[in-house]
Symmetry: C2
């Protein structure tokens, strides 16, 4: 049993602004000659924060506003912070986001533009997590911990509900793996409602902590990360999240940076989609193992599109 419950996930939809729900799910035949399998896209970028993260922050912020809280803090690689800023602004919450100063400038700009207080740390996301926890203790306010806090997993899990409710004849769902909120959330719903569907998590070779942990069935940390997929570049997997992932993932695979870039290029040229590196992980996994997916119907969740324009052009040109 994971920490999640499908009925609770379904109930949580009511707290999420409809602009983030019922996102496009469609067959993308333009990609298929290159990928050798049937491909459907679940598109999480056509919303005010350009990622799936607001599904979770809407639940958090609704709950906080409902119990009279006035402030909240999170650490973020950039997308959670934007989403919490958006959700908090609409409910009168003071939002503080702690991020690495090495995060993509566009993500930091958008967090500020959404009226959040942005605090930068010199280290990576793990340093930001420490700092956010310290702020929460100091100020006595709610700390939102991505993947650990159930609302973040339940929010992501509503993507899974939309997949099973649409009931297309898919065989595999590819999910970007970072902290694990999306993988455990979507994975839980699939295993509960569509157990025949294979749940495959995809992480960069340069940020493999959770994937190594899943294979070894114990928390494995790394000293550093080296990937353009900034959204999934954690080093310290959370034990409770790993426990859930062990119950719902059928596999976890690692992909090369070159495959991530090839995936971004393919999604641009054959699907007309701008994606950030983390959102190309699924296509990268197919490119690295076409035989595994040949003849099957694969859903890939395009989870974010927040890229710095100059970086993006360099990657896809």
């Amino acid at each position: 049993m994971t920490r999640l419950d499908t009925a609770s996930i379904r109930a949580a939809r009511q707290w999420i602004d409809p602009t983030f729900l019922d996102t496009p799910l469609y067959r993308c035949e333009g990609l298929e000659p290159d990928l050798g399998c049937a491909v459907s896209i679940k598109l999480e970028t056509a919303n005010p924060v350009r990622s799936f993260k607001a599904r979770g922050t809407e639940i958090v912020a609704s709950s906080l506003a409902g119990n009279g809280s006035s402030a909240v803090v999170c650490a973020s690689a950039g997308n959670l912070g934007q989403a919490l800023a958006w959700s908090g602004r609409g409910r009168g919450l003071d939002v503080t986001v702690v991020a690495s100063r090495f995060a993509p400038a566009v993500k930091l700009e958008r967090i500020r533009a959404l009226d959040a207080k942005l605090e930068l740390v010199d280290g990576d996301i793990e340093a930001a997590r420490d700092r956010a926890a310290a702020i929460a203790r100091r100020d006595g306010i709610r700390l939102v911990e991505d993947s650990l806090d159930l609302e973040t997993c339940e929010g992501a899990a509503t993507i899974g509900l939309e997949l099973v409710d649409a009931a297309p004849p898919f065989d595999v769902v590819l999910i970007a793996l970072g902290g694990g909120a999306m993988a455990t959330g979507v994975g839980h719903v699939l295993k509960d409602c569509a157990p025949g569907v294979e749940v495959v998590c995809v992480q960069p070779l340069g940020a493999p902590a959770m994937t190594h942990s899943w294979h070894q069935r114990r928390v494995v940390t790394t000293d550093s990360t080296e990937t353009i997929a900034d959204g999934v570049a954690g080093r310290y997997p959370i034990p409770a999240v790993l426990d859930d992932l062990l119950l719902v993932a059928d596999d976890a695979v690692l992909v090369k940076e070159a495959s991530i870039i090839a995936g971004m290029r393919l999604l641009l040229d054959r699907a007309g989609l701008v994606v950030e590196p983390s959102a190309a992980l699924g296509v990268a996994a197919i490119l690295e193992n076409r035989e595994r997916f040949a003849g099957r119907h694969v859903v890939t969740i395009v989870c974010g599109s927040n890229v710095d324009p100059a970086d993006y052009r360099r990657w896809v040109d």
Copy 2:
């Protein structure tokens, strides 16, 4: 009274595959500093044919399949052809598309990939229209005439229903103007259900026939077109469509090629959206007249994303 009827448009939704309906409508604050107004996007590109055109072809093909027809032909700049090919394939119809050999290669490829018979003419879309009509007469099959045939307008009009049903507090809707199906369809619903909303049609300076016709209240043709916005480059406005447009459009404006390119670049860099030139017309109109839209809430319909990758890179780089 236009040729359209809102109740019929609402009824027509039942014939359209849900993958084309209820498309994203969302506020895009990332664009706002550059545009000086509140901007919402109605996104018509996240579907199997990457344009809004299937809303209409679904109605056509459902009707044909229902009355036992087995074949259909249309002229197309590329997007209608893809959409009719998709809608016809799913219903066992033989689809013939006539297009200019100068249409974007990616549009022609996709029409072929969707199992349609593609016939190329040496001239432009007007030559393709003549040829399609000849094929229909020769073979005794249904000719789909974009903008003239009510189903094409009703299909596009379902976008208008989704706008008024969502009831965001918008003041203006910007609509790409080509043959007029989208402008008259969406315009009809807005004038019927939300008469306070301004309906502004946007066409390239290099393909101004319908805009000149609207301003002069009579059909004005041109000898040639000169625009990258291939989807809206007609020369011979259809009288019945112009009559409808005169009833529902509050204005029709022309924009420069440089503004279309600037619009495409802005949508890429600030919204993460790949759009074909026709889909950037609305943003181009704002860029050319920021004062007109300042402080207002503008919806722009992003109507297609079928671009040749090499052309697209040249435009946005």
